[in-house]
């Protein structure tokens, strides 16, 4: 799956979780949770949605590697290629 499609899916799911969030203004290299004011439950819901949509299970231990939007997309790109 290519990066722009992945980004679309993330954007859709983030909109479900935080309808008020302004995705257009997200700086892709800063902490996503800070940018969108996501709490731990919102974040878990994002990880659950990613699992449903992309069949990629992100372990808690990897949370540090997916902090920014770009890092998350890198991670998913890699995971979907190796799957």
């Amino acid at each position: 799956m290519n990066r722009s499609r992945l980004q679309e899916i993330i954007a859709e799911e983030l909109l479900n979780i935080a309808p008020e969030a302004e995705l257009g203004s997200v700086e892709p290299n800063t902490d996503l949770r800070e940018e969108l004011d996501l709490d731990s439950l919102d974040y878990l819901n994002l990880v659950i949605a990613i699992n449903h949509r992309l069949h990629i299970q992100i372990p808690e231990a990897d949370y540090g590697r997916i902090a920014s939007l770009n890092a998350l997309l890198d991670y998913l790109e890699q995971a979907s290629q190796s799957a």
């Binding site: 935080a18 008020e20 969030a21 949770r33 004011d37 709490d39 731990s40 439950l41 878990l44 819901n45 990880v47 659950i48 990613i50 699992n51 299970q57 992100i58 372990p59 808690e60 231990a61």
Partner: protein, 401 residues
């Protein structure tokens, strides 16, 4: 005959707007059924009925705003309706399921598959939430594959099954008026001003080493798919409920000039509604829910707090509140008691700090500040300190939760 009245979902609510009737005259209802949707300053709430009976008349129209306590429907209750027996055909599936076993002598095999709260639960493992949702959808548990531990049915399994039968529910299917931000602000202002005016708060704080607790939780979550992972928040609520049994003076209501302890432990949790404020729905009987079920309950209630669909019992029942600013980097949060409750616990962000260990060494440990604000009319600091001490001890032994 009795009346259903406009319920109060908090000390700060004086009126509500009936935006949707879910029943009509002649309908049979069972305790816990949702009869109406009420719009309040806290968003749309599903109103439950608290007795079995038959609806006789609706006394207000959809769209009417009426004061708390106004009769909105009349209902013939089971006891009062003895002269006018309810036709068997009108009894809902739920009513049949909860009827006494002697009323259904010939249907034993069928009953074995019927999910009811009174039946032994030996055959089908399911979380309480999954069970009640299945009953609501009238689904047979035996026909559903469980994805939980040991094949247990979880809420997600029920929703998946229901979704397969009722595909593509349009987003506008349920009435969902937006949350009125200024009204929510007013509701918070009224409740908090009343609290600070009337409740003599005392405050305690304690720092708890969470390192072992977090390692335990990480290990437990490691092999699980995301929907079965448990967040620290659920563990803290479970621990709170577990230790409150030993400090009943902090669990209940201050009403009519005195303290009324509560046998049940319903833990209210403050949930932020982005840009609007917060609501404090309760996790009912938190002490009796296993950790996984409590986590499922927490996710479900949080989603409904933000999208509408909280139940009246969840809005008014909390016997204590917990608040947490999550990972916002705040070390301590000092709560304001939500009247008529008598205590609120605040959980700060876990953070790494130098910590003197039992053998006198210094280590980097993950610690958390826990605060308690309690009502001095009901308890003293000595008792509050006991709760914090018990909580610390409990959190060092998470496996017992």
């Amino acid at each position: 005959m009795s009346e259903l009245t406009m319920p109060s979902f908090g000390a700060d609510m004086d009126a509500g707007t009936l935006i949707e009737w879910r029943i009509k005259p002649g309908d049979s209802v069972t305790k816990g059924d949702i009869v109406a949707v009420i719009e309040t300053m806290k968003g749309a709430i599903d109103m439950e009925v608290f007795e079995d009976g038959t609806i006789e008349a609706l006394l207000v129209d959809e769209g009417d705003k009426v004061p708390v306590g106004t009769p909105i429907a009349s209902i013939a209750t089971a006891g009062a309706a003895s002269t006018e027996p309810v036709a068997a055909s009108a009894v809902t599936t739920a009513a049949v399921a909860t009827a006494s076993a002697s009323a259904l002598p010939a249907s034993a095999p069928a009953r074995a598959q019927t999910p009811t709260s009174g039946e032994p639960r030996a055959r089908i493992l399911a979380s309480p939430l999954a069970r009640s949702r299945a009953q609501q959808y009238q689904l047979d548990l035996s026909g559903i594959r469980g994805s939980g531990p040991g094949g247990a049915l979880l809420l997600a399994d029920i929703e998946r099954k229901h979704g397969a039968k009722h595909p593509v529910k349009p987003a506008a299917a349920r009435v969902k008026p937006g949350i009125d931000r200024s009204a929510m602000r007013q509701a918070i202002a009224a409740a908090m001003a009343k609290s600070k005016r009337e409740i003599p708060h005392y405050y305690l704080a304690s720092t708890i080493d969470l390192s072992e607790t977090l390692s335990w939780l990480e290990a437990r979550n490691q092999a699980r798919p995301p929907e079965q992972r448990v967040l620290l928040g659920a563990l803290l609520i479970k621990a709170t409920a577990a230790v409150l049994k030993q400090v009943p003076e902090l669990n209940g209501f201050y009403r009519d000039g005195g303290f009324q302890p509560s046998g049940a432990i319903h833990v209210g949790m403050a949930i932020t509604i982005r840009g609007a404020g917060l609501v404090v729905p309760a996790l009912l009987d938190a002490d009796r829910q296993p950790l996984d079920a409590l986590m499922e309950n927490l996710r479900d209630v949080s989603a409904r707090a933000r999208q509408g669909g909280l139940r009246s019992s969840e809005m008014s029942a909390a016997t204590i509140t917990v608040t947490s600013l999550g990972e916002r980097g705040v070390e301590a949060v000092y709560g304001v008691i939500f009247p008529p409750q008598v205590a609120i616990l605040g959980f700060g962000s876990p953070c790494t700090r130098p910590w003197v260990t039992k053998d006198g060494g210094i280590e980097a440990r993950t610690v958390m500040r826990v605060t308690l604000a309690a009502d001095h009319r009901v308890s003293d600091g000595h008792l509050g300190a006991r709760l914090l001490r018990l909580l610390e001890k409990q959190l060092q032994a998470p496996e017992s939760l």
